[in-house]
């Protein structure tokens, strides 16, 4: 992990998380909230790898902060959600491949905005440079041209994430693995339930609410459905010689339309919650980059739905270029932004379940 040394503030973030966890480990009042606390009690000391693992287990539900007798203004000034958020963000940059790209997007929303503009411009140029011979969308940008652009980007994103994930996986190999149980927690967001507390403390002080969990699930399932729609379209195109556009009663549309709606509701909801949430309990810097990625998800869903609704109108070419630009930016940014949390969170949950089973008496 050579990137660690290159990023300023890395040691400070981990030192603060270590200090916080040592206080938590002597207290343990929060043990019922989420998986972080039982995992913490299985350790007496916290090496950098332990910190990365616990930070990726943390869902930033903030229950522990509001329950904390040592939170500021107490002289211990304990803010575990922030301490873990900082280490988490740091760990993604450290594990990312190639490292220089991680640093380009880590802190700022502006980087993503520029990327989006560039991606849209690239699509615009593509539409002008190649003349379509097919029908519908492909009259504007031929299928072959789309594949030539998106296939490499998609494969690169997959490769980059696989390298990062493998680095994390190796660093935590001693913990064991329980994939089925870990995936279950990832897909149902058990850890945002706050134990018996009915939700998290994200948007309104110490009030428990399921809003963040629900909006996150809408985003997650919306994204997966949209992805399934693209995959179904690819299969239809190559396997059955049935190119787009598709009717409403077709796999791509049955996945894509609800997926787009869920994505817009979910990402929009998450942005709304984030506006109300206390920024002092999230990352010290880089919150703008987190939000920018959610905006990008929202735009991807919105332009996709608009494209479907207005595909027969003169707005179609502009919307197609916008939508493809958003999708391109999304995949380019995937391994280097907040979006990558899904990978590390899932791996951390699989590791945590593995560790639980290994250490059971």
């Amino acid at each position: 992990m050579s990137a660690t040394d290159a990023i300023p503030g890395s040691d400070a973030a981990r030192a603060e998380a270590r200090r916080a966890l040592e206080i938590c480990n002597a207290c343990r009042y929060c043990e019922g909230y989420c998986a972080v606390f039982p995992a913490m009690t299985r350790r007496r000391a916290f090496a950098d790898g332990d910190l990365d693992h616990l930070a990726n287990l943390c869902h930033n539900c903030r229950g522990c902060y509001h329950a904390c007798q040592y939170a500021p203004p107490h002289e211990f000034a304990l803010n575990l959600p922030r301490a873990l958020a900082d280490v988490r963000q740091q760990s993604w940059a450290d594990y990312a491949w190639p490292g220089f790209l991680a640093r380009a997007f880590r802190d700022r929303g502006a980087g993503l905005a520029v990327l989006l503009v560039l991606a849209v411009a690239a699509m615009f140029w593509l539409a002008g440079a190649v003349s379509g011979s097919g029908g519908g969308f492909y009259a504007l940008i031929p299928h072959g041209a789309m594949v030539a652009v998106f296939a490499p980007v998609f494969l690169f994103a997959l490769l980059a994430m696989a390298v990062g994930g493998a680095r994390y996986w190796r660093a935590t190999r001693d913990l064991g693995a329980a994939p089925a149980h870990g995936l279950h927690h990832a897909m149902t967001l058990t850890n945002l339930k706050g134990g018996a507390a009915e939700g998290c403390n994200f948007e309104d002080g110490d009030r428990f609410s399921q809003a963040r969990r629900h909006f996150h699930q809408a985003t997650l399932w919306g994204f997966l459905l949209c992805f399934a729609a693209t995959a179904a379209g690819t299969v239809l195109h190559y396997g059955f010689g049935a190119p787009a556009p598709y009717d409403l009663v077709s796999l791509p549309k049955l996945f894509g339309v609800p997926g787009g709606i869920l994505l817009v509701i979910g990402a929009g909801g998450l942005l709304w919650l984030k506006r109300r949430a206390d920024p002092a309990l999230g990352v010290s810097r880089g919150a703008g980059g987190e939000s920018a990625f959610t905006v990008l998800l929202f735009l991807t869903g919105l332009t996709g739905l608009a494209l479907y609704a207005l595909r027969q109108t003169p707005a179609m070419p502009a919307l197609l270029i916008l939508h493809l630009g958003a999708v391109l930016a999304l995949f380019l940014a995937l391994p280097y932004t907040k979006m990558v949390h899904g990978l590390y969170r899932t791996l951390a949950l699989i590791r945590d379940e593995g560790e639980k089973r290994k250490t059971k008496p």
């Binding site: 207290c27 909230y33 007496r44 904390c68 203004p73 110490d206």
Partner: protein, 468 residues
């Protein structure tokens, strides 16, 4: 802060902002009373000592919520008798114990969430229900519930004087925002805690040694309401010269160190005073049972300080403490770090080691009978030589949990007057009256039981008084 609170005519004035105060306020508000809570702490520090609590001791006939098995009235009362050595009011105590069973559901109905007892805690899943997130989470839930019922809570507001005439409460002087307001209310519920935050008072009661005591909880329990009511003829209860103290890490903050300053190393250590001498059997019993006596033991030592020393073998046998231990490669080096006489510490350790005869299996979680021979004071369990470096040490100081002096009450939480009889419209709940039941010692989780039971009764009685 809500505007106009000082000018409103209130039905119920609750002095204090902890568990008992909130239980009283919620109960009174549910019965239609207009309730004002005056909490002397700022909002971030609200809740008195309740913010440091984590569980509630509860009688139950069978499995109940998070509680396993059964815990009968008699067993609960016997546990109380044992810790108080009989210094309790049996009728009041038994009433409280019986009432605790219904409290659990009431607490859940008013927003409190419990958790299954997990690792690292004392094994109390049968007798004590643990709050998810601890006492501060419980308080957050109660404040939300109270707010929804229309209760007004003002922070940084201290009841500095209560107008009491022949046991009749007529109004209060509340200091808030640099001004003193005269506030009218038909009734008063005193739920303002003990006086352990007032070091001068502690020093008067205990002697100069109290200046070296650490206060485990809130600095806002200064006993202002308690002193004011006692001055005006309220009947006192409990030993005014005593406070409950445990041995905590000597490096803890003066106030509000809470749970993380506790030290669990004593049974596996030798404990020496400033003169590098041992002074008590460190292995007398399992730690939860002996935890409470060490505050007093350390308070009696010169300078109110002691040092627990272990060697490498015992490092992993107890919960980690928040402050890292002082480490040394030899006993002489340790003496230097602790500023003790090296020769005397070496002699004390050598005498102890020589008296460790072994011959039985070391069993850290039960009384293993592994005792010293011919040593005074003896160590009667877990006696293993302190011989393998590195050595670790923790400084110990007395940490005050609460004071015993309080207001005498009857079984309807009515404050009693020195002249005999109950005050007409004053009730008391929580630590300010816990001395009625806890004459000495402490039983884990009973403070929250007393606060919840008497808080609910006080709220109910005050609301009833207002209606009539």
């Amino acid at each position: 802060m809500q505007a106009g609170w000082a000018e409103t005519d209130w039905d119920v004035l609750v002095a204090g902002g902890g568990n008992a105060a909130l239980c009283a306020a919620i109960t009174a508000a549910e019965r239609g009373a207009k309730v004002l809570i005056v909490e002397s702490a700022p909002r971030d520090w609200r809740g008195g000592n309740s913010r440091h609590t984590r569980n509630f001791r509860c009688m139950h006939e069978g499995p109940l919520g998070p509680l396993t098995g059964a815990y009968s009235e008699d067993e609960y009362f016997d546990d109380l008798l044992r810790v108080t050595k009989g210094r309790t009011d049996e009728d009041l105590a038994r009433m409280t114990i019986r009432a605790s069973e219904a409290c659990l559901t009431w607490m859940q109905d008013h927003g409190v969430r419990f958790q299954p007892s997990l690792s690292g805690t004392l094994s109390l899943s049968r007798t004590n229900a643990f709050f998810l997130g601890g006492g501060k989470a419980l308080l957050n839930a109660y404040y939300r519930t109270a707010e929804a019922l229309g209760v007004t809570a003002v922070y940084d507001a201290e009841a500095v004087h209560l107008d009491l005439e022949d046991g009749f409460f007529a109004g209060a002087e509340i200091r808030a925002g640099g001004e003193t307001h005269r506030v009218k209310s038909k009734t008063l519920i005193a739920a303002s805690g003990g006086f352990q935050g007032d070091i001068d008072w502690l020093t008067r009661a205990w002697g100069p040694a109290a200046e070296n005591f650490l206060i485990r909880g809130t600095p806002y329990n200064r006993g202002v309401v308690l002193a004011d009511l006692l001055d005006q003829g309220a009947e006192p209860v409990g030993d005014p010269t005593q406070c409950h103290a445990v041995a905590i890490d000597g490096r803890a903050p003066k106030f509000d160190g809470g749970i993380v300053t506790r030290l669990d190393c004593v049974p596996f250590s030798i404990v020496v005073n400033r003169d590098a001498e041992r002074f008590h059997d460190e292995g007398e019993d399992v730690w939860p049972k002996r935890y409470a006596i060490w505050g007093r033991l350390v308070a009696a030592q010169p300078g109110q300080v002691a040092y627990a020393i272990i060697d490498r073998k015992s490092r992993e046998l107890f919960m980690p403490s928040v402050y890292p231990p002082i480490e040394a490669g030899s006993i002489a080096e340790m003496a230097g770090k602790l500023e003790l006489d090296a020769a005397r510490l070496e002699a004390t350790v050598a005498d102890f080691n020589a008296a460790c005869r072994g011959g039985r299996a070391f069993m850290p979680t039960e009384l293993d009978g592994l005792a010293t021979e011919g040593l005074e004071p003896p160590k009667t369990n877990w006696a293993r030589p302190i011989a393998e470096p590195p050595f670790h040490a923790w400084p110990l100081r007395p940490g005050v949990t609460f004071t015993y002096l309080g207001l005498k009450v009857d079984d309807r939480a009515r404050m009693q007057t020195a002249g005999g009889g109950a005050a007409a419209n004053v009730w008391a709940a929580g630590e300010v009256m816990a001395g009625n039941i806890l004459g000495e010692g402490y039983l884990a989780g009973i403070g929250m039981t007393i606060g919840t039971v008497f808080g609910r009764i006080a709220g109910e009685e005050a609301a009833k008084h207002v209606r009539n």
